[in-house]
Amino acid sequence: MTASAIELRNLNKSFGLAKIIQDVNLEIKRGERHAIIGPNGAGKSTLFNLITGKYTPTTGQVFLHGQDVSGKKPFEINRMGLSRSFQITNIFHKMTVFENVRCGLLWSMGYKYSFWTMVNKQRELTRRTDEILEQINLANRRNMLAGALAYAEQRALEIGITIAGGADIIMLDEPCAGMSRSETELIVDLIRKVTEDKTLVVVEHDMGVIFDLADRISVLVYGQIIETDTPERVRASRAVQEAYLGTTLEEEAS
Amino acid sequence: MSLFIVNILDGLVTGLLLFMLCSGLTLIFSMMGVLNFAHASFYMLGAYFAYQISLFAGFWVGLIVAPIIVGVMGALIERYGLRRVHQYGHVPELIFTFGLALLIEEFVQFFWGRQQVPYNPPAALDFTAFAIAGNTFPAYKVFMIFMAIGLFLVLLYILTRTRIGMTIQAALSYPETVQNLGHNVPMVFMGVFGVGTAMAGLAGVIAGPVMGTFPGMAFTLGAIVFVCIVVGGLGSLWGALVASLLIGWIQTFAASYNLRMEDLLVWLGFEKPMLMWESAWQDLWTLTLPQVGPILPYLLMVIVLVVRPQGLFGKRET
């Protein structure tokens, strides 16, 4: 049996009385590039946090490669091959760019909590870190403090840390937020490059990016998935236009 | 039985006193995210200022003036000290308040020396309010209970009936809502810090004559106050109240009932060693309740943390 990369079954999440996620069912296949879109406050980030273990579901289950991971801690889920980025840049500000990426590699390369090896003497670790720095075009920023990078570079570093561990499911939370058109193009190319042969789940506001990148799209409105389909069909769907475009228009009007 | 009632009242006095400190500390913590390590130092300042004022103008003037001075000092320290350190993050803030506590203790010793100062209850309250079967209860403690409850009611009124109070209350459960205070957040912070420290000062004024006014009084009570806050749950006012009363009673009862471990062990069927001073368990056998009384709050804290890390009433696990 080849289980899906991610499967959500009747997932619910409430904060107090507010039901943020309601009965979400979703299957994302291995190697698929899946996008989640929806108006502000639809619960996209909450859904992300439920899958990655930051929140525990109120009811329902999350499966990763067929294994139930509901209620597991983020680090346990990460060890099962899922890695995520954050909407608000979430890097180690007081460490160098090189060290940021290296931190992303440590667990996957089996170092665990070791305090008997000198980290600078690990050739393979250094080589792979530099390789990733090349990939994300930050090799020339190697020894700078991450906090001192320009915003777009920090976003690239965020992706670099996320993919460093070689997880086969990559989840990106608004990777292009706050970027200019040209920066966005670069980062989309980067995403395409680094997630080859991997499962990608992405939340994004920029529709151009979504329709360019995704194999399938789920539309989340008020905590419910109203449609999951190919980009062409989602674009054509009446329900989506009413629910989603309707609200965005309203938002723009207000 | 009568001893029991007196202990209930005595424990109430201690508990309410703890709560006067805990409530201010909780308010400051919930609004500003700073656990003010020097909070008990303001309590000590209240007592010393009131003592100094009482030498010239009597107890009642000190009761009014000392907390005001302490509150103004607190506001100024927030404005010119804490706000400066705030930019470096929470840990330096905590270190700053810790340094402040050390400094205040040194200044108190600088002006008033290392010995206890003779700060006494006013003559008007220096009589026995009532006696229960030979156990007397001083009028001054009745006064303390009324003061503490009065303060509690005022606090309750402000928190539930005024606009600023409701915002503060919202901030207790949802720290983000502090932003809703509008453009004068710094002003409100200074005010909350000032009022919180003034409450601590008031507690010092009324506690000084009973608990003793000496340079170590801040750290003695301060550590217990933090235990209350952690046991009750960081940021929970009700938790602080329950924990304060609980610890007040635990301490009072432990001090007055001379239960001996020896009796308990014998009752459990253990044999008392013939030569006590040769037994490896001599410390256990000779233990008495008044002896362990002072450590019970800390023990309680450790147990609560192991069983329920967020505290009895805590929702936030920060």
Partner: protein, 429 residues
Amino acid sequence: MSTPSTNPLTAGTSRLIPLNHALPWIIAAVALVLLPVIFDSRSALTIMNQMAITIVFALAYNMLLGQGGMLSFGHAVYMGLGGFFSMHVMNWMSVDPWLPLPVLPIFGGLFGLLFAFLIGWFSTRRAGTTFAMISLGVGQLVASLSIIIVIFFGGEEGISGNRTEMLPFFGLDFGQQIEVYYLTAVWLLIAALGMFLYSRTPMGRLANAVRDNEERAEFLGYSQRNVRWISFCASGFFAGIAGALFAINFEILTEENLNLATSGTILLVTFLGGVGFFIGPIIGAIVFTLLQTVLSLHTDIWALYVGILFVATVMFFPFGLTGLLALHVLPWKLGKIGYLAKPYAKMIVPALALVLSAAAVLEILFHVRHAGRGENEMTIYWTTFDSHSPLPLILGIVVAVVSAYALAKLAPGLKAAWDEATTMREAGQ
């Protein structure tokens, strides 16, 4: 300034110890050997031993505060417990000596580690304020327990021992203070090197990562709690070594080795030196020990001065003395350190005047309040006068105000020179 080891092309080359890495350690070792030759008095040895112990403890403390971002108000517990246990081992050994004194610190370290392991289990679940409060509570608990559990802690009097009764070590029985000095110095080097190397392991780097951003670390496969717990254990181990060295040096331990005052002092020492640098606690321990020794000889209110210094450090130099020194690295590298010499030279007189006059005012006030009846005469700065007459006080205040004003006037000049010295424009290369 690029060194072979920071060059990406040669990083990880197999030379075991690059010379430029070993050099500071060789210098330190040589200095430790030579110091007692230069300062050979009994009191100098005592101070140096005290310093060495404080350095080990402060470095251990900074594994938590600087590297792990955990603020502890109760770290004396682990040093103290290590010390108490070592003292018991010392006493057992005097009955049946089968181990020499130099191995004692290992026992102290292991005992510190054991308790850090037990207490860390629940105290490292959260960082920040909660961790700080728990450390305070546990510290108070252990300090109070030490009075009750007489069999281990010796009650109010504490426990004492005799270091010379253990197995002789190559003929040495450590009766001489100089022997104890070299024992302490060797352990200082071992412990400091151990802690330095630890900071270069994956665990050491992860402690930094969790300090900076615990959430991110969780999403990279690391449990923030485990990272903190392991750091805490390592810190407890080295604190325990410091405790054993204390036991060896002073041959007595009391409740004072466990209480809040000791825990607070180590925070002060570490912060004063600078938490962001490995060398920070070392500088802090040296400066603090000297300051304490000198001040306590000359004034009754030395603790007040230390308190003022501490609060001023937190407010104005949160990176400590080392941070202050590190600020000058850039002008140095740019070859423009000379730009700062003149403004510094101008400020040194008013700065000294301010410190000395403010201290004089405090001393006079203190004398007025605390001197015995009729003892109006006091002496400071080799001058004797009547402390109750207003003139000296007024003079002190005037000098303080004037020098503060002069400093304020000179500040813009320093700022301009500083900007000049830290900009690249006219740099050599």
